[in-house]
């Protein structure tokens, strides 16, 4: 619902006629043909200090709808803190967070799902004592409407919804080619599979903005390639926006449309992969200043 509202609001601005606007509310256009609306997520002037240490200072970042936005930087640059601000885990001292142009006053982590955002965790954070399918079902929970009473009495409506959720979850598992593991427990699975389960859980919410925290860590070269294709596929086929923090430069350069580079809590560069690659400030941050 929210998505449609936001999209229809954009239409008059793009001025493509009334007939088109009716179609727009039905069909999602690929991002390239429509003008990019307000950013899927915008962080402006974010400042965070932890007991006198400035983790982030006046950082700006805007995720253009339908693109992959990478956040890179050396260790301790504040990437994860920025991510935590975007998820409501860290409340910034100053700065504003907006989602599709709407200012989010106080963002709580449990609001994310409702806002159409999903995040994967660096440590995976899988629910270890339930099956893979149940893990993904929790991710799909935002589509569930069954209340406490429906659950308590096992009403037919609740049962039907449960079946729908299971179908949805199984579809996501199949799409990520881990359907065979549905009945297994996460702890018994190899790391790359667990990583996919975590991704499946995030995707089951069907977000339109996906936040990936180091999605490639611990993966081999082949798995990383697949991950790259998968992320690009989400953007091109499902019109999703992605924000990702990652260390593997080749993956970042291949997957991202835009990159923000942080160093010591400041944004030192921003642009396309090519621009960033040749930015002297970035080179200095990663390789050190050149000495004569």
């Amino acid at each position: 619902m929210r998505i449609l509202c936001a999209r229809t609001k954009v239409v008059p601005v793009t001025a493509r006629g009334a007939a088109r606007s009716a179609a727009l509310s039905e069909v999602r256009l690929p991002p390239s043909t429509s003008a990019p609306g307000p950013p899927a997520l915008e962080l402006r002037g974010i400042t965070v200090t932890f007991g006198g240490i400035t983790a982030l200072s006046d950082v700006d970042l805007a995720v253009t709808p339908g693109t992959v936005h990478g956040v890179i930087g050396p260790n301790g640059a504040g990437k994860t803190t920025l991510f935590n601000v975007a998820c409501g885990f860290v409340v910034p001292e100053r700065g504003a967070i907006s989602r599709r142009g709407d200012r989010l006053e106080r963002l709580h982590p449990h609001d994310l799902a409702g806002l159409g955002m999903a995040r994967t965790l660096q440590g995976l954070g899988l629910f270890d004592r339930v099956t893979v399918l149940e893990n993904v079902l929790v991710g799909a929970d935002r589509h569930a409407r069954t209340g406490f009473l429906g659950s308590l009495l096992g009403l037919p409506r609740a049962a039907r919804e449960e079946r729908e959720l299971r179908e949805r979850a199984t579809d996501v598992l199949d799409r990520l080619e881990i359907g065979a593991y549905a009945a297994r427990y996460p702890a018994s699975l190899p790391y790359p599979v667990r990583k996919r389960v975590a991704l499946a859980r995030a995707l089951a919410a069907e977000p339109d903005l996906l936040l990936l925290d180091e999605p490639a860590s611990g993966l081999g070269a082949a798995d990383m390639d697949e991950l790259g294709d998968l992320v690009r596929g989400l953007v091109s086929d499902r019109a999703m926006s992605v924000m990702l923090v990652e260390h593997h430069m080749d993956l970042v350069m291949r997957v991202c449309d835009e990159i923000t580079v942080l160093d010591f809590g400041r944004r030192i560069a921003h642009g396309t992969p090519d621009e960033v690659r040749h930015d002297p400030a970035v080179l200095a941050a990663y390789l050190g200043e050149e000495v004569d």
């Binding site: 998820c87 885990f89 982590p109 449990h110 609001d111 994310l112 799902a113 409702g114 999903a118 995040r119 965790l121 954070g125 899988l126 629910f127 270890d128 004592r129 339930v130 399918l133 149940e134 079902l137 929790v138 991710g139 929970d141 935002r142 569930a144 069954t146 406490f148 429906g150 659950s151 308590l152 009495l153 096992g154 009403l155 037919p156 609740a158 049962a159 919804e161 449960e162 079946r163 299971r166 179908e167 199984t170 359907g179 065979a180 593991y181 549905a182 009945a183 297994r184 427990y185 996460p186 702890a187 018994s188 699975l189 190899p190 859980r201 919410a205």
Partner: protein
């Protein structure tokens, strides 16, 4: 498994409620047959197994599914029992029994909501400490308000006359007159079955899934849109409501609500029953309650047969119970039902593994995942 669920099969197997009702119906038949053939004394024993089972069922949901520990469930039972006693203080009290039970549940539920709201902010040992305080304080309240709550002597519970339609129905079904102990046992087991169906419904659907998610990983659960506080409070409230029903059944079984019945030992005993049976498993809770009710007597009888004096034989019971506890924790850390389930799952996986691709069978490490059940008590 997933595909089997997806196919839907017949209506009763496809719906959660249908499956649970079917099990409940089978259970009811078994209960009627057993209670009919048992003596009055056995019936009272079975009734006490039922109320312990109800309370343990509530506790296993709280501890097993939501990872909260409570040492105060005995106190919550006391609240249910005292509510029942206050409503059934003489023969012409006039309140129908189902209403009395519902009132007991409602009052305990309210107390549970208050305690649960506090508990939602606490973890592990702190939560254990807070609920322990509840277990200590509640019997004290009964002692303090001597006039209203009967002090040390407690309150007598007067069981209303058995309605004639129940007598007629019992005679029609079984062909013999319904004794009061049998009536009480029937009530307790009926309450148990209803409670277990409701708890199983919760456990198998959205609410239970959210509880498990919060238990396993708070951050990930929150990111999935689950409000941690609400999930915890709701688990506590549900668990408290079950304890209230158990307290009501205890009151009408022993016909007394007195502080000595709700000591800290009761709370601890419930927790041991849940651990013995297997955390999070309703069947396990029932098994734990059965051990709790019958093991002491079996052991005492064996002791007497072996030539011990009565006192020595009676002292044997707690010793054996303790030993059983130690052995179960060492040998089957996931509890009796939990361990059996793990073994079954492992066998099924192995069979599936040999049938399908080799990659699934090589890393079959189901035991590592399910045996972690044992360490989740405190988080």
């Amino acid at each position: 498994m997933a595909t089997a669920l997806r196919r839907g099969r017949t209506w009763w197997a496809g719906s959660v409620l249908g499956r649970h009702l079917l099990v409940a119906l089978l259970g009811l038949v078994v209960v009627v047959v057993v209670l009919e053939s048992a003596s009055d004394f056995r019936n009272l024993q079975l009734a006490s197994m039922a109320y312990l089972g109800i309370a343990a069922g509530g506790l296993t949901v709280l501890t097993g599914l939501n990872g909260q520990i409570s040492l105060g469930h005995g106190a919550l039972m006391a609240i249910g029992a005292y509510t029942t006693a206050l409503l059934l203080d003489d023969r012409d009290a006039g309140t129908p029994l189902p209403l009395v039970v519902l009132a007991a549940v409602a009052v305990t539920l309210l107390v549970g909501a208050v305690v649960g709201a506090a508990a939602a902010r606490l973890h592990g040992p702190y939560l254990a400490g807070a609920t322990l305080a509840l277990a200590v304080a509640v019997p004290g309240i009964a002692l303090y308000f001597k006039e209203q709550l009967g002090g040390e002597q407690g309150l007598r519970v007067v069981l209303p006359d058995i309605p004639t339609w129940v007598l007629d129905l019992a005679f029609f079904v079984t062909g013999q007159d319904l004794t009061r102990s049998r009536y009480v046992a029937c009530l307790a087991w009926l309450t148990l079955i209803v409670t277990f169906v409701l708890l199983a419904n919760l456990s198998r659907t959205r609410v239970g899934r959210r509880w498990r998610a919060v238990r396993d990983d708070e951050v990930a659960a929150e990111l999935a849109g689950i409000r941690l506080g609400r999930a915890r409070v709701s688990a506590f409230v549900v668990s408290a409501a079950a304890a209230g029903a158990a307290g009501a059944m205890m009151a009408i079984t022993v016909r007394l609500a007195a502080p000595s019945g709700f000591t800290i030992t009761l709370s601890l005993t419930l927790l041991t029953a849940v651990v013995l049976g297997g955390l999070g498993s309703l069947g396990g809770a029932l098994l734990g309650a059965a051990l709790l009710t019958f093991l002491p007597q079996v052991v005492t009888d064996l002791g007497v047969d072996a030539g011990l004096s009565d006192i020595q034989a009676a002292e044997l019971a707690p010793l054996v119970y303790g030993l059983v506890m130690v052995v179960v924790v060492l040998v089957a850390p996931a509890g009796l039902v939990g361990t059996a389930r793990t073994a079954l799952l492992r066998r099924r996986l192995q069979r599936a593994g040999t049938g399908t691709s080799t990659s699934t069978s090589t890393d079959t490490a189901a035991p590592t995942s399910t045996s972690t059940t044992s360490k989740g008590t405190t988080t």
